[in-house]
């Protein structure tokens, strides 16, 4: 019977992942790609997504071996408990830091576009409180919220992209295929790192019923997110040109401004569109928060997950206010993505999977059948 057993379906996890991966990265993605490959930046997105498929394969294989277990548990099985604990601690710190940066970016954007005079602390606190409310209700509730938010968020975003088409100037994308192989690979690598939220799958697989469909989950969500990112980047570069995209801090926001919705009586609709995009940030931050509390719960072997959400808040809040200006925020984000991200996205899953295979730990498909 369907009760408080915190199990979700694969469809729900797919939706959660799509919402999570689409959020903050899509805002700065055009700039990142244009910096490397100028007007061919969109090709990097394709390359990055393909690389992300590769990473997700390792992660999916890893979690398939350990259904019903979160990273904290199975890392302990693979590489002995203390090291597993250490790894979990690192991931906890990473989550907290990521959440802090994302909240800060969100706060900056809100302050810029929606509420210029409100102190940013207040915006951050209110978002944190909402995320706490969600995290306390458990993963099941989070899945349902994602199901509801998914059409609300993505349909307007897709509409924006559709309505941006008349403004596209193809010559901005030309000449095509001018980038060198080196640029392609390094750029794709950077883009693939924006899929860092895949590591949430290391944890969420424990809640999925049936548990061995993680491969399909990854594939579908990566495909959808990849398409969305690709179209966004293409649109942005096509409308603003390579140099224009580089100059903007939030090119996607400006994109929302220049499009003309037919029969709409709302002008300056970027504020409205931002509201829809904010849902995704809410989703990812509450995800980080929830899983941080899960890690802490498992580490101190407590039974109640709910109460541990609130103590994490001060850390995130203080960290998010630490960078002093927007450029420093951007640098932190880049550092987090480029230096720390690969460790969790690529290195750890791969190593763990390898070690698990060698030591023959974990359920194999023959055993399950």
């Amino acid at each position: 019977m369907y009760s408080m057993n915190d199990k979700v379906s694969t469809r729900q996890v797919k939706l959660i992942l799509i919402l999570d991966m689409f959020s903050v990265s899509v805002l700065i993605l055009p700039r990142v790609t244009v910096e490397v490959a100028r007007q061919d930046g969109w090709i990097l997105v394709i390359g990055g997504t393909l690389l992300a498929f590769l990473y997700s394969w390792f992660i999916a294989q890893l979690v398939k071996k350990f259904p019903e277990e979160t990273f904290v548990d199975f890392s302990g099985h693979i590489v002995t408990r203390p090291i597993g604990m250490l790894l979990s601690l690192f991931i906890l710190l990473f989550f907290i830091l990521s959440a802090a940066i994302k909240i800060r970016i969100f706060g900056e954007l809100t302050k810029q576009i929606l509420l210029p005079d409100t102190p940013i602390e207040f915006i951050i606190i209110s978002l944190l409180l909402i995320c706490t409310y969600l995290s306390r209700k458990g993963y099941e509730c989070r899945a349902r919220v994602a199901e509801i938010l998914f059409p609300i968020t993505l349909i307007p975003l897709i509409l924006i992209l559709l309505f941006a088409i008349p403004k596209v100037e193809i010559p901005n994308l030309a000449p095509f295929f001018q980038l060198s192989w080196k640029e392609f690979f390094s750029g794709s690598y950077y883009v693939s790192l924006t899929y860092i939220t895949l590591i949430l799958l290391l944890f969420s697989n424990a809640f999925v019923q049936p548990p061995n469909k993680s491969g399909g989950i990854c594939r579908t969500s990566l495909l959808v997110v990849g398409l969305l990112k690709l179209s966004t980047v293409v649109m942005t570069i096509a409308i603003f040109g390579a140099k224009g995209t580089q100059r903007q801090i939030w090119p996607v926001m400006t994109l929302m401004q220049v499009i003309h919705l037919p029969a709409s009586f709302i002008e300056r609709q970027e504020a409205l569109m931002m509201i829809f995009w904010l849902n995704t940030v809410f989703s990812i931050v509450s995800g980080y928060l929830y899983f941080s509390s899960v890690i802490v719960t498992k580490m101190i072997k407590s039974n109640e997950q709910f109460y541990l959400v609130l103590p994490l808040l001060p850390f995130i809040y203080i960290l998010s206010l630490y960078p002093s200006d927007i450029i420093e925020v951007y640098n932190w984000q880049q550092w987090l993505r480029r230096k720390i991200g690969p460790i969790f996205l690529i290195v750890i899953p791969f190593l763990l999977w390898l070690i698990a295979k060698i030591r023959k730990v974990g359920a194999t498909s023959e055993e399950k059948k």
Partner: protein, 532 residues
């Protein structure tokens, strides 16, 4: 201090009068003895000062008399039945019976019970608690000297309203019968619509002092057994003085008492209750209440009305959309207005904005206060309108709504746009078919207004998120509240046939998600090839 003690000391320190007749649960513990005189004494004691309880002692038989005693409540028991079917046979008819009373071999009690009276329902009872219960429920109890048992005779005939039009749920097309206050009438209304042996009616009593009858009706083979168990469990979980209305039961067994959203649906219409049973839900009927409870519920159920199923599917789907839109408007409209006009002036088209600015010249209050004033005034009007008798009620509607609103605008207390917004909101909240859900949205509206007035569109988003999170976490008897929009798998594959769109009948081949998983196929064409 001493005066206080004197005044209140007596009330505080007075010892509770020793009550030997009832135990802690208000059950009568006086024994039923074989001696009629002793029983009579106990009953007189229990029913002191109850002038409406009629007691009669009479002899059965001519020469060798056996004393009997009947108790009933005046006007609750049908006096005609008592006189004609109970007293007449016992007092008169028995004299014509051969053999004479002395020759009766079996126990007199059984003789009377089996053949002495001509009433339809008789029962043995063997303790005083049941005697009192039966008497107080409208039955007549007959006690015979020498026997430690009594007979309860069903003679219920209390006054009741009968089957009338349901006040709160009227439809254009569909039956106009509504439930009444009598439990039996209500169960009959449902029985008429489901003539299936698998329709079960389980009765319980709740409330220590009120001992209200509750009937639980369900279809045995399609209801989920775990939900049934849960319902029974919850009904036995509490001990309360009295259950006066189904609302009491609803609040006592619902999942989350903090939430303003109703987790149990109520209805006054038998056809709605019958269709709920056919969907695999459980109906709880409470005596003395024309509102029956339907559970478990999802949010979707509140947006369905009986008419949807009797009309064609296009109009039903269209009206469904309007209802969902109305729900959104009823919650969000004032907050959205405040957010846009106070924080995000850039988003309103210039023409409109200039008109609004011009219209608001001279209005002393900020937009938020205006909205709150008008909203609260509307609530006042609504409350007042409920209690007024019909002829005055509609006049007040016109007077209050139009004239006062107009006057307020002309006096420059509020701007005309606010009046439009607030009335639109109020109308939308009436468009929601279920009153209890409308109330929930009315309350959430204030939270949305509050948050929007502080943080603009961002606050609006936060309030919407709060609502979504709250609704997502809500469960009604372990069925997620937001099914079928969320959380369907691993329950079912789809249940969209009846949510936003009402699909045509021939497409509704499966029963909704409330039913047992193996009982889902509902409609089958007789011959798939024969399609007109």
């Amino acid at each position: 201090m001493k005066i206080l003690q004197q005044l209140f000391g007596s009330t505080i320190k007075r010892k509770k009068k020793e009550d030997h007749t009832h135990d802690n649960d208000n059950k009568v513990i006086v024994p039923l003895t074989a001696s009629l005189n002793e029983n009579i004494r106990q009953i007189e004691n229990l029913f002191t000062d109850c002038e409406d309880v009629i007691k009669r002692r009479f002899p059965i038989g001519e020469e060798k008399k056996v004393w009997a005693y009947i108790i009933y409540v005046d006007s609750m028991a049908d006096r005609q039945v008592v006189e004609q079917s109970v007293l007449y046979p016992l007092m008169v008819g028995v004299r014509e019976v051969l053999p004479k009373i002395e020759d009766i071999q079996t126990s007199l009690l059984d003789f009377i019970k089996d053949g002495g009276m001509t009433t339809a329902e008789v029962k043995n009872i063997d303790n005083m608690n049941d005697v009192c219960n039966q008497v107080l429920s409208g039955d007549t109890v007959l006690m015979i000297d020498g026997y430690q048992q009594a007979i309860a005779i069903s003679t219920k005939g209390f006054p009741n309203r009968g089957v009338e039009k349901p006040d709160t749920e009227s439809v254009v097309r569909g039956s106009k019968e509504g439930f009444s206050e009598s439990l039996r009438v209500n169960t009959v209304l449902i029985r008429r619509r489901i003539r299936d042996t698998k329709l079960k009616v389980k009765q319980k009593q709740a409330g220590i002092r009120s001992k209200t009858d509750i009937a639980i009706m369900y279809l045995e083979d399609i209801v989920r057994p775990k939900i049934l168990e849960e319902v029974n469990q919850r009904l036995e979980d509490f001990k309360v003085d009295a259950i006066l209305d189904s609302g009491h039961i609803e609040q006592l067994i619902q999942d989350d008492w903090k939430s303003p959203f109703p987790q149990i649906q109520i209805t006054e219409r038998p056809d709605k209750a019958a269709s709920a049973i056919l969907e695999g839900r459980i109906v709880i009927i409470v005596d003395n209440s024309p509102f029956v409870l339907l559970l478990p519920t999802t949010l979707n159920c509140f947006f369905q009305s009986s008419e949807d199923y009797y009309e064609r599917w296009e109009i039903a789907s269209f009206i469904r959309f309007i209802r969902y839109g109305a729900a959104f408007l009823a919650t969000a409209l004032p907050g959205l207005y405040i957010a846009l006009t106070t924080y995000h002036l850039a988003m309103i088209p210039t023409n409109l904005m200039l008109s609004m600015a011009a219209a608001r010249e001279g209005v002393p209050f900020p937009a938020i206060i205006e909205v709150l004033i008008m909203e609260l005034a509307f609530e006042l009007l609504r409350e007042a309108g409920i209690r007024l008798p019909d002829p005055i009620g509609s006049t007040i509607g016109i007077v209050g709504g139009i004239i006062i609103g107009q006057a307020a605008v002309e006096a420059n207390i509020v701007s005309p746009i606010i009046v439009i917004i607030v009335s639109l909101t109020a109308i939308s909240s009436f468009a929601i078919p279920s009153h209890s859900l409308g109330v929930a949205f009315r309350l959430s509206k204030y939270m949305v207004i509050f948050l929007s007035s502080i943080l603009g569109l961002y606050g609006f988003l936060i309030s919407m998120l709060i609502l979504i999170i709250h609704l997502s976490a809500l469960k009604s008897f372990n069925i997620p509240y937001l099914a079928p929009y969320a959380a369907l798998l691993p329950l079912y594959n789809n249940d969209y046939q009846d949510s936003l769109l009402r699909l045509p009948f021939f497409m509704k081949t499966k029963r909704p998600l409330f039913t047992r998983p193996d009982q889902r196929i509902r409609l089958r064409r007789k011959d798939p090839r024969k399609k007109k």
